[in-house]
Amino acid sequence: MARIVGIVTTRREEVGGGAPIFYAEDREGLQQVAHLLEKILDCAAHTINEDLFIIVERE
């Protein structure tokens, strides 16, 4: 099963829970952080909506 290893968002108040949350100022910053996390963690970044990305690890 896939596992959420990180959450990147511009709307701090909309997210919570067990995974590390990364906050970005704007959508451009969001893309940048998600890009970095994708490369560093070797995990895929997926868009839930334009202000919320999840980084997902697959087996």
Binding site: E38, D42, C43, T47
Partner: protein, 307 residues
């Protein structure tokens, strides 16, 4: 004079011809193509050597049996043992290197290749056996004819079916609707990063495989068969990805409603014709082929005949 010698040394002729034809059969079936396997030269030498052994084993069995030395048949079981080992060897090697492929072959494909390697040795043995049998039993040129015939037959045997036999392959446009990626109407995946979407839009190619029958529907739905398609296409056209780019993975998804298979590939060489050839030419895996319609028809007939 040469012919007289052949007639007078019947056993030797039979063994030599059998061995030669067995070896020849193995050489004819040993091909390195785009799969680059077995690799040249060492991988090939292993199989040629085993082919020679197979040929020799098949060939000596016949004169031994003619001399009422029936225990010679145990030789053949020894050969079978040996060739099962070949299958293990192939499986182990390919599984070991599969982790290092950008697009892995998958267990089903590896199993298929391993079985083929074992099967080819048996065909070499049968070729040798038949050649030797006819050379010993009738005359040397009968062995020659039998050998050539079995070469042809084993060639036909080894020609497996391809994707194009069971499915219609069509190119389909790639659609990006926000993060959602579609090939034709089939939903493929969610692509998060703008950067990846751009690459997929530029480099990606989409195919839709429509099954030709209900049996084919089951076959192309098989995960092993799908992985084999992705691997083969990526081998033939290159793949636009690197380790650590899970967002750029060639994938195959089933359109659940239609049973069609959507294929997203990211070739280095974006050539529509070559890509089409590559997809159509993927071998069907023995592990993936099912015939549910035949079984269902039979059980239906049985139920009817039983009232």
């Amino acid at each position: 004079m040469m012919l007289d010698w052949l007639h007078s040394h019947k056993e030797l002729t039979a063994v030599a011809m059998g061995t030669a034809f067995g070896m020849l059969a193995r050489i004819a079936m040993l091909r390195s193509d785009y799969r680059q396997y077995p690799a040249y030269p060492h991988g090939k030498i292993i199989h040629l050597a085993l082919g020679l052994i197979a040929g020799a084993l098949g060939a000596v069995a016949v004169p031994a049996l003619f001399n009422k030395d029936y225990t010679a048949i145990t030789f053949l079981s020894l050969a079978a043992q040996q060739f099962r080992e070949v299958r293990n060897m192939e499986r182990n090697t390919l599984s070991a290197i599969d982790d290092l492929e950008l697009v892995p072959r998958g267990a089903a494909y590896i199993e298929g290749i391993a079985v083929v390697f074992e099967g080819r040795n048996y065909l070499a043995i049968v070729t040798a056996l038949l050649t030797s049998l006819f050379a010993q039993w009738i005359v040397w040129w009968a062995g020659l004819i039998a050998g050539v015939l079995s070469l042809v037959i084993s060639h036909l045997f080894m020609r497996g079916k391809r994707i194009s036999h069971i499915a219609r392959v069509e190119m389909a446009p790639i659609k990006l609707d926000g993060p959602n990626l579609y090939v034709g109407d089939i939903y493929m995946m969610n692509v998060g990063l703008d950067e990846n979407r751009e690459i997929i839009r530029e480099q990606g190619m989409g195919f839709i495989l429509t099954p030709r029958s209900d049996d084919a529907r089951v076959t192309i739905a098989n995960l092993g068969q799908r992985q084999a398609i992705l691997h083969d296409v990526s081998t033939r056209l290159g793949v636009y990805r690197d380790d650590g780019d899970p967002g750029l993975l060639p994938i195959a998804k089933l359109g659940l409603r239609t049973g069609q298979l959507g294929l997203l590939v990211l070739p280095r060489e974006k050539d529509a014709d070559k890509a089409y050839e590559a997809v159509s030419g993927v071998p069907l895996l023995e592990a993936a082929v099912r015939k549910p319609t035949k079984a269902n028809r039979k059980s239906l007939e049985e139920a009817e005949s039983n009232g």
